[in-house]
């Protein structure tokens, strides 16, 4: 079942690449994928060894709570964005290729979500990185190619850092995912330092995908050059793959009790806090719209890493929740930005005066998402951040547990600064700036998808109850 | 040291001679001179040998007809060696002079370096 779920988009993509089908084919595939995912959601937990390379190394697929959440998120957003993309790319010279790799990437991601052990995780992680490269360099401009290579290198570097952890685990424990970690107490007590080092490497390595300091610099380069739908999913979803991997490795492999209170945890949290602050300040200073969003991703993702780093159930819940919210929101934002660029070819923030007059829907959705990201109740962002902060207060890390929330709040303020500023510019224009913005509202499809995302952003906040309780059950298994 | 030199002046002289011959053999360009130097060198060594064989106040083994007791004679062996040596050096000298002659006929010079340069030219 899971295998079909993975293979479907991959085969679809390859088919598309060679048969050059019309794009309704894409939607068909995606719908099917959502359907399958839906079915998968309600099937019981399973674990299935697909392939035995050696007795140690094998490919395993499993479904559990975490994978369900991520899978649902991924597949849903993919569908939404694809709808938007069809109109966005209608004048593009080579939409087929874009969609092909779009599907392939989805395959990779699905595999990642369903991975049952470290080996599989690594496999699909690499696959997804490689397959998403074409999305980045789709426009084929010089800087696009450069950015793509940078993206590639950072991903590979991250992955190979993670490999260190992989092999240390392979030698000292097992690489199967099991809630609460796989390492026996004896091993931990014996090889503590090695294991901790491995854990740190792995976290930073996978964190690279999530743009953790000091491995963040690819993100603002790669995301903006891609076409808007691509940057949306890159920044909204694919980055979450890194988060997912971190969760898997930390909570399902090394285990909480190894890391809790160790120097690794401090390093981790401090790194994430640094990137939170840095990301939002840079975003604040950034003038190019998409770049600004990218920087904001850096900071937001580090919120999540921070939440995970607290190693508390609440923090965990908040983190995963923020994963979902942020992916919805950030997609919404990018789609909005994309819409603006698509219609007016304006990329700089200060060119956007009065854009709200000509593109009301877009900018409204943009604003809603912005508010959600800042964390205004009752949006999703609020709930997740609340949990994050609560988590850090629970964590009992002394100074950090106080410093963390402060930084989060500061960056929230900054967020408000760099996002709401745009909305304000867009709607409230000075009298002399009248009609500065030309062009008109985007087509129906694009509008709908934006609206849908904005709607989701709010809904997630209001009806977050069931999700939270579900997450708490998961977290219950981990601590 | 000083009277040392004086007492065995034969050796001193022979060493000096040897030096002269050696330098002459090595340094002078002219082939004839080289071989003269060689001869001087040999002579020096013969002098040395004979000096070694000489025992003060005795006579060489000349007239074998009137046999007296061997106490009166000098050590005959070095003399024999010297004779042999002289013969050898004479023959060597003859040979080398013949060579020089031949060389002069071909190259019309006695300077070895010139000869070699010419020989090289001949090769090309």
């Amino acid at each position: 079942m899971g295998l079909i779920c993975i293979l479907l988009p991959i085969i679809g993509g390859i088919w598309l690449l060679y048969k050059k089908r019309q794009t309704y084919f894409v939607r068909l595939v995606l719908l099917l994928h959502v359907l399958l995912t839906g079915i998968l959601l309600f099937l019981p937990d399973t674990s299935w060894v697909v392939w035995k390379l050696t007795d140690q190394l094998n490919i395993v697929l499993k479904t559990d709570g975490l994978s369900r959440i991520f899978l649902a998120m991924v597949s849903l957003i993919w569908l939404v964005v694809s709808v938007y993309a069809q109109d966005y790319l209608e004048h593009d010279e080579n939409p087929i290729r874009f969609f092909a790799f779009y599907l392939l990437t989805l395959g990779g991601l699905t595999g990642l979500c369903l991975a049952g052990n470290f080996m599989t995780l690594y496999l699909f992680f690499e696959a997804m990185s490689l397959l998403s490269v074409p999305l980045v360099l789709h426009t084929m401009t010089r800087e696009a190619v450069a950015a793509a290579l940078k993206y590639l290198i950072y991903s590979i570097a991250g992955a190979s850092m993670a490999l260190i952890g992989f092999f240390i685990l392979l030698h000292y424990g097992s690489i199967e995912f099991a809630a609460g970690g796989t390492l026996s107490a004896a091993v931990i007590s014996e090889h503590r330092d090695i294991l901790l080092a491995g854990a740190l490497f792995t976290v930073v390595g996978f964190g690279t995908k999530a743009g953790i300091f000091p491995m963040h610099s690819w993100l603002p380069t790669a995301h903006p050059v891609a076409p808007a739908p691509a940057s949306a999913v890159l920044s909204g979803v694919i980055t979450k793959a890194g988060i997912f991997a971190v969760i898997r490795v930390v909570y399902y492999q090394f285990g909480v009790e190894l890391i809790a209170g160790s120097w690794v945890q401090y390093v981790w949290i401090i790194l994430s806090l640094i990137s939170v602050l840095m990301g939002s300040t840079l975003a604040f200073k950034e003038q190019i719209l998409k770049k600004r969003l990218a920087y904001s991703s850096v900071s937001q993702l580090s919120y999540i890493l921070f939440g995970l780093g607290t190693l508390t159930p609440t923090g965990f819940v908040g983190a995963v929740l923020h994963v979902v919210c942020h992916s919805v929101i950030k997609n919404g934002l990018f789609l909005g930005a994309g819409a603006v660029i698509h219609q007016t070819h304006k990329t700089k923030v200060r060119e956007l005066d009065g854009i709200g007059k000509v593109m009301p829907v877009t900018m409204t959705c943009f604003t809603i998402c912005a508010l959600a990201l800042v964390g205004i109740p009752p949006s999703g962002g609020f709930v997740s951040k609340w949990n994050l902060i609560a988590g850090s207060l629970e964590s009992g890390l002394g100074l950090i547990s106080w410093l963390g929330p402060v930084i989060l709040l500061v960056s929230a303020v900054l967020t408000a600064g760099y996002l709401l500023g745009i909305s304000v510019q867009a709607f409230i224009t000075g009298k002399d700036k009248n009609g500065a913005a030309a062009g008109q509202e985007v087509s129906g499809r694009m509008r709908n998808s934006q609206m849908l995302l904005a709607f989701l952003a709010v809904v997630l906040g209001v009806f977050s109850g069931p999700l939270i309780s579900y997450l708490e059950t998961i977290a219950g298994g981990l601590f | 040291m000083g009277e040392n030199l004086f007492t065995n002046y034969y050796e001193a002289a022979s060493v000096i001679l040897f030096g002269v011959g050696f330098t002459c053999l090595l340094l002078s360009k002219n082939l004839i001179k080289k071989f003269i130097g060689l001869n001087i060198m040999d002579t020096a060594i013969y002098l040395f040998l004979t000096a070694k064989g000489y025992i003060a106040g005795r006579v060489p083994l000349m007239d074998a007809d009137s046999v007296r007791d061997p106490e009166l004679y000098i050590n005959p062996l070095p003399s024999g060696l010297v004779l042999t040596g002289i013969v050898v050096s004479v023959s060597v000298t003859a040979f080398s002079l013949a060579l020089v002659l031949k060389l002069y006929q071909t190259y019309h010079t006695l300077d070895l370096d010139e000869v070699l340069t010419k020989a090289k030219k001949e090769e090309e």
Binding site: V145, A157, L163 | -
Partner: protein, 494 residues
Amino acid sequence: MGNNAWFLMIPILVPLIGGILVSACHMEQRRLRQGFVMATVILNSVFVWAAIFWLQGKEFRLVELSQSMSLTLSLDGLGCVFAGMVAVLWPIASVYAFEYMKHEGGEVRFFKYYTMTYGVTLGVAFSHNLVTMYLFYEMLTLITLPLVMHSKTDAAKAAGRKYLVFSIGGASLAFIGMVFLYHVVGDATFTAGGMMAVQGLAAAKGQNLLTIFVITFIGFGVKAALFPFHGWLPTAGVAPTTVTALLHAVAVVKAGAFAVIRITYYLFGADVLRRTWAQNVVLLLAAFTIVLGSAKALKEQHVKRRLAYSTISNLSYILLGAALMTPLGLQAALTHMIAHAFIKITLFYCAGSIIYKAHYEYVPQMVGLAGRMPVVMGCFTIGSLALMGIPLLPAFISKAGLLTGIVELGTPAAYIGMGALLISAVLTAYYLFSIVIRAYFPGKGFDITSNQDARDPNWLMKGPLILLCIICLLLGLFPGRLLEFFADIAAGLF
């Protein structure tokens, strides 16, 4: 003493004679020559496999050199690995060579030496003791020299000279080690787990022993392009691609690695060397070479030289594995030996086909080539992925082995090696994918009409390529049996 052990001579002699015949009968007609060479090579591969199946453990003494030294052939597990690998690759490579050499000229000469090399390589694999291996090792150098200088250009001659100096130099370093073993230790027969005598000696004059080991390791490492003696390999890239592919990615260089494994595990013995400064020295050398090779490959714009540098770094993977001196390490080394052989020959053949068809030799020229030569670039991509160590492809298995072995050994030098491996993994991805990506995504304003003439080559070249790719994939998917076999070998040594 097997009654039919003399059969071990056959696989060595057949190609030598065949090669001589090629030039003796002066086969100018291409069909005849190709038929003949192909027949010889395939026949010989059959012989090799026959030997592998029936003659393991047999030994055959050719001649006594002196009281202690004798030329003896025998076949053990390790030999089987090497011989088997060569026996599989040679026929495939020959098919490719037939087509490729058309535009190089001097085919008679080429195939003469090409065939003879086969025999000599097998000789290295079949050696029973150090002096025998030394003999074939030297012969290997001398017989591949004409292949390096094939084009007879000044560059080729210079390369040949460099190759000669490095190889002979390395061999004579190894010679010192050999003399030490025969003279001081008294024997140098390959015995699993190292010779007792050495272990006896290890107690007595350890330092001297270790020094000699390092010298010997470096000496044989020269053929495996170990820093600081790696320089010849890129220079030798002037040779025809078939040579570079088969010899300088597989036969010759692997012979070096093979020799290193021999001396480490079969003469000095891992137990004597493990956790000594000697091990650290060789580990660090290998690690440094790994990084250096990949870095240089990144800087290099000439495709073949880039691949050559990548060979340098990958060979040091093998040496690193060998230097770990743990069962896992050896197992990984052997795995990587096989894996890299197939992968690298694939890559080289892709490069060769590009040079052959499109006459492009530099990376920037290969922009948008994928449209023109889908098969070739496809194989190239698979090769690149494999070399990067993506799971389900062969190199991943060996890397897994290496890194686990490193963790197992756990000395600082070993962890440095781990760092080197990971760095070079990144670099590998970079220097290979910068080619692949450019080939598939030429970039804006790339006129599709350029490289019109570039086409996929005919089946004589395509066939081997695809076959090799398939083998790569199979190796990656079904490593089980192979690994077990290696594990058995390794188990015998500890």
